[in-house]
Symmetry: C2
Amino acid sequence: MIATIRKVYERYGFSPLETPALEYVDCLGKFLPEADQPDAGIFAFRDEDDAWVALRYDLTAPLSRYVAMNPDLPRPFRRYQVGPVYRLEKPGPGRFREFYQFDFDSVGTNSMLADAECCMVMCDALEALGIERGDYVVRLNDRKVLNGVLETIRSDGAIENRTAQDVLLTIDKLDRIGIDGVTQLLGEGRKDESGDFTRGCRLSPGQIDVVTKYLMAEGATRAKLCDALEKLVGESEVGRAGVDELRQIDAALASAGYDEDRALIDPTVVRGLGYYTGPVYEGVLTFAVVDQDGVAREFGSVFGGGRYDDLVERFTGHKVPATGASIGVDRLLAALKTLGKVDTPATTAAVLVTRLDKNLTGEYQRMVAELRGSDLNAELYVGNQSIKKQFKYASDTNKIVAIVAGSDEMGAGEVSIKDLRLGVELSKEVGADRKRWLESQPAQFKTKRENLVACVKEVLARYGGPSRNPA
Amino acid sequence: MIATIRKVYERYGFSPLETPALEYVDCLGKFLPEADQPDAGIFAFRDEDDAWVALRYDLTAPLSRYVAMNPDLPRPFRRYQVGPVYRLEKPGPGRFREFYQFDFDSVGTNSMLADAECCMVMCDALEALGIERGDYVVRLNDRKVLNGVLETIRSDGAIENRTAQDVLLTIDKLDRIGIDGVTQLLGEGRKDESGDFTRGCRLSPGQIDVVTKYLMAEGATRAKLCDALEKLVGESEVGRAGVDELRQIDAALASAGYDEDRALIDPTVVRGLGYYTGPVYEGVLTFAVVDQDGVAREFGSVFGGGRYDDLVERFTGHKVPATGASIGVDRLLAALKTLGKVDTPATTAAVLVTRLDKNLTGEYQRMVAELRGSDLNAELYVGNQSIKKQFKYASDTNKIVAIVAGSDEMGAGEVSIKDLRLGVELSKEVGADRKRWLESQPAQFKTKRENLVACVKEVLARYGGPSRNPA
C-alpha cells in the first residue's frame, strides 16, 4: 500500500524527506483541537538539558520547522514523508496512540493550483489502490468562506475570534452529533445521551440560522455552489477571497478532468487542526461498512489536508505559504482490508528445507543456498524439533514447498519434494477436470538432487510461481 | 539500501513485523551498558494514567515483549523489523539520539545453526550492498568463553558476577582505549588524557595476566583458535560449553562456504548490551577512513548481534531461546556514501512542465497528465514566479527536461523541449567524437504537441532514461 501511494506522490514530483520523531515542544506548536490545554494531546517530557521535548503529533509542524531551518531549499519545496505520529489521548475503536501518516506538501507557493493538485493526488492515490470511482469522493472547502459568513453576522452580536474558533470546532463535530446537535452547540449548549451538558457558542437564533443556511448550502455543480456561497458571504472581504479560491481550485480540477463525481465542494468540511488558513479537503470513502454497534455507515475520512500559510512564519517571521495533505495509513489499510484490496502475507519464503537428519545439516545448507541463488526465498529449518513438527511449522508459516532428504535418499542422490498445498486443495470440492488435474500432481515426489531447483519452481508454478513472494 | 537488505533478509525466510515506538518501561528492561542507573539512557515519561512509558532503545526488547504476548506464534519465529530507536545520551560525531536499526531474529530455537545464519546474513547483506569481500569481516565470539576464563581465576581471589560484568564492559572499550588501557582498568584503574581517573575492576596481576592471554589468543583458523580457547577455559563447564558453541557455528559456516576471509573468531568481541547470553557477533568494515582528527582508522562496526536466551523469560517465566542481529542503518549509510556505493537523488521527477503563460494552465495540466500517464514522473510548476526563476527551480531540483509553451507555440500546435543537462555536459572537456555528438543534440527544440511524450523520452534516454527515477 505504501509503495503504491509513494509511486503516485513521485509521479507528481514530490521527493522523500525524513525528520526526527522527537521535536522541541516550541517547534510543535499547539494546533490540535484541544489547543487551550498546553501540551494536552502530545507525549512531552524533559530531556537531559531540561528542555521540553515531545513526540510529533503530525508531520506538518516538523516540516515547517525543517523549512524554516533550511532557507535555501528550492521553492516550492515539494516533499513527501511517511512515518508514525503520536497523540496522548484515549483512542477510539480502530485508532491508536501511535499511528502512521503519509504526507505530501508544497511549501512556498500561494497558488491554488497546488491545492487543486492535493485533491488530484488524493483521487489518484485512492484509485491506484483499487478503490473505484464512486466509492470515494474528495470533499473540499475554504475556511475563509466560513470566516466570511461569521463576519456578516458580527453586527448581530459580537462574534469574537474565540467564538469563531468554537463555531469551527462545533461544525467539525457534525459527523458525530448531526445537524441538530450542531444547532444546539451553536446556541446555549447540548446534553448528550449520558446526560453530560456541553456549553455552546451562545450565538443568537438569527446567527444560528445564518450558519445553518451556510452548512446546508447546495449547488448542482462546484461552480453553482460557489455562487450560493458568494451570496452568503455578502460584502465580507475574507469571505469573497475564500469563494474566489474555491473557484480557482474548481477551474484547475475541471481542466484536469476531475469532475463532481470525484471532487465536491462541501461547506461542512472544516478540519479540526488549528493551523489551516484557507482551502481544506478530505478524501472520504463512501461505501458502507457495519460498525461495532451493527450500524451500517460510511467508512469515512482517510485522507485530509489544507493550506497553512502561517505555520512557517511562526519560526522565521517570514510568510511562507504552504499546502498539503496526509493519509491516515492505518485507517486506509483497514478500509482496503474491508474491500479485500490488500493481502498481508504471513511469510516471505515459500520453501522450507527441513532437517530430517541433523547430521546432514551441511547438505541441507547447500540446498537452501542453491535455492536462494536461484532467486527464491527459502528457509532452512533452524529449530530442533521432530520432522512432524517441522511440517507443522511449514504449514503454520504458510510455506508452499518442503524439501525432505534422509540418508537413504541422499545416498541415492535424491531428494523429496512435498507440495504442502495439495492436500488442502484436494479437500475442496472440485469439478471432474480439476480433480483429474490435481490427481496428476503428486503431493510428494522424489527427484534427482540436481533437479532440486527446477522441481521446486515447478511446484511453485502451480500456485502462481515465486512471484507470489512480496517484493 | 533498506530495500537491498530487506531482500537478503527475505531470502532467508525472515518476515516483516512492526511494533510501537513506545513501550511500558517495565517491558524495555535495563540492558544498556549503563544498567546501574535506572532509566538512564532512555527517553522515559509518564502517560495520562501515570504509567511509565519510554521510547524503545532497540528493537530486541520490544520483540521479546511481542513474543511473550503472542504464545501461539510458530517457533522459531523469524521476523525482521526496521525503524527508529532512541537513546538519551550525548551522541558522538556522526551519531544521533534517534537512529535507525534494521534487525532480524530467530526466536524459539537454541540451535547454533541460527547463530551461524546470523553471520551469513550479515555477509550476504554487506555484499549485496556492493561492499567487497575483504572490505568487511564478521567477528564472532561467545560470552560463555569469557565467563569460563573468569571461572578459572575465581580461586585466585573472588570474581563476583558484578566484577565479571565490569570485566566485560572493560573489554568492550578495547577499541577506544587499547590493550594498555584495558589492562589498567582490569587492575586498580586508569587516568585518561584529561586527568580523570576511572576506578578499575581490581583484579590481581595473575588474574589480569589470564584475561590478557585470553584477549591475545590466536589461531590460524577458527578451529585452531577454538583449540587455544579450550585450553584457557580449562575445566570450566560454562567455558567448555562456549567453545563447543563456537565449534558448532564454525562447522555450519564452513559447510556453507563462509571461510576465514569472511567470518573470524575474535575473543575481544563482547558487545556491550546486558542481555546477551552466548554467541555474539559484529560486522566490521575494515577499509580505512580518515576521521575528524585526520587520523586514518578502520570504519568499524555496522552490524551487531548475539544470542539472548533469557530475555523472553523475563515476561513469561518460560525460557525461550533467541538470537538475532541488527544493522546500524545510519552508520552503514555513511559507510556506503564514503565508498560511493549509494546515490541519494535530489528529486524524483525528471521533467518540469513550466507555466510561461498562467492563462494556459489548463493546457499545461493536460501535458503533465499525459507524461504521467506514460509512466514518467513529471511535475507541474505550481509556484508564481517568472519563467527565468522557473528554470532555476528546475535546475535546483535536478530536473533533466523542461517543457515550455507560450501562446504562439500553442497556437501553432507546438511545444519547446529544453534539455537542462546539455549545457553542463558541453562545458566539460570532451573528445572530438563526443563533442560532435553533443553538438548534434539540440539543447532546446520545438516539436509538434502530439510528439511531446516521445520527445521527452528521447531526451531522457540521453541520460539513462526514465529508469534513473528511484522506484
